[in-house]
Amino acid sequence: MSQLRSIKEINEKISKGQAVVATAEEVLSIVAEQGVEEAARRVDVVTTGTFGPMCSSGAFLNLGHTTPRMRMTKVYLNGVNAYAGIAAVDVYLGATEIPETDPANTNFPGDFNYGGAHVIEDLVAGKKVRLEALSYGTNCYPRRKLETYITLDDINEAYLFNPRNCYQNYNVAVNLSERTIYTYMGILKPELGNATYSSAGQLSPLLNDPYYRTIGVGTKIFLGGGIGYVAWQGTQHNPCVQRSANGVPREGAGTLALIGDLKQMKAKYLRGVSFLGYGVSMQVGVGIPIPILDVETMRYATVKDEDIVAQVVDYGEAYPQGSGGSLGEVTYAELKSGKIIVQGREVPTAPLSSYPKALEIAQLLKHWIEKGEFTLAEPVATLPSADSSIKMHKLTEKGGNTND
């Protein structure tokens, strides 16, 4: 495979304001008109985007030292518990954490109006957030109690660190049972009443680089309206699932761990969301540039909704019980049409991931690159791919003592 350009050469063009950039949607018509080889010669970068609920998200915060000093052991931000089992005033605020006073699902289905993701959104929006901290007190950190307010500006470091974002493809959720169920895939009406899905399809980052040929550790990205980086493969990164002839996984596969400076981010790309009867999550905006290094990269980046399939899964029984497989395959073109056929029945579909916002992010990233404000970073390590023989482990219950 002959290389057309290097990331270094692309960056030289970017800094001169000469880079040719297209979104993963625009590139479809360019390839249709000019063919993949000509398109690969002309376009330097393809931008992708996604804006969906990503539960495995959160932020590290350094709250700053008080006088007298305090080694915070319990920390609440607007009543939401932040993990303080690290150094004195460092905490990790998880997106899905809910206040201890939230009735959760005791009054089913619970509302889950406010949680960690909402605190992060409030911080990014510049709002004051109530901080309560407790400690047992030590010689070096005598203070035991603190109640005050913080804003994002007056704390030290604040960075998003999301262990699992950008799922490469995902399930389509339906409900075969006789009752309405409340899930992280939204409200599912009984007996195939609706189907939900959560991927930007042809705009989604990892579906445009299915074997992680350009996206790796250190790739510079758009994260929540600011600049971030790929930190590692995400948790449950599972590249060895079945793939179509175009290389695209036919079910949930690769994932990314992402990091980025919270102080650069915008609340409109980092939103707390509430799933009735399930819990709190965070809708995260991510955009990843794909450098068109060769014709092959371009071929992968021109994947279309009709060429991406996902598995239809029953969340009434098969998913919660971890039994049974797929009820069939559908394409993202079918999902986006508003109805799919499952078990011979027409089922209305609705997304949970916003396609218009994903497009907005891909376009914004394109403008940043065109204006010379965003250069690409060379990955420092590759992500495990389809040849890695990674297998997902199941957690089995074992008896006896841990020391046996």
Binding site: K336, A350, P351, L352, S354
Partner: protein, 139 residues
């Protein structure tokens, strides 16, 4: 007994008079104020639940109207806070009337209030809490 929620609109000229006191004292109406926006010498609004025997209720309303207070029936309206909406599209499979609908294949979501039957299913279904039920006076 009648129990009804109404909107009272007070012109600036009468806003400082003790209407609620009079309703309670003279007309035996139990008045439960749900929302009030009253300022000296400015037009004021109040959402109030009135409970009384039918004859007292009618007399009380007449008393208010004679003194220039507008009494408007209350209507629940669903509003779509567009700037809170993340355009996820989830509500379009929940809304029974296509009041919340999607333009395909652009996948943009819009709200058409004429089609809304105020079933309120979207209120808690919307993950971004972009839908809200507001009480508004029927004009």
């Amino acid at each position: 007994m009648i129990k009804s929620k109404v909107v009272l609109r007070f012109p600036a000229s009468v806003v400082e008079q003790p209407f609620i006191y009079t309703l309670i004292k003279e007309y035996n109406i139990i008045a439960n104020i749900l929302k009030a926006n009253i300022n000296p010498r400015k037009e004021g609004n109040m959402v109030v639940e009135l409970k009384a025997a039918e004859s007292d209720f009618k007399a009380g309303i007449e008393f208010l109207q004679e003194r220039g207070v507008m009494v408007l029936p209350l209507e629940r309206q669903i509003v779509w806070w567009e700037d809170r909406c993340t355009q996820c599209g989830f509500c379009t499979a929940i809304c029974p009337t296509d009041a919340l609908w999607m333009e395909r294949p652009k996948m943009t979501v819009s709200f058409c209030s004429e089609k809304c039957i105020v079933c309120e299913q979207c209120l808690k279904a919307c993950p971004a809490r972009a839908m809200e039920a507001l009480y508004q006076a029927e004009e």
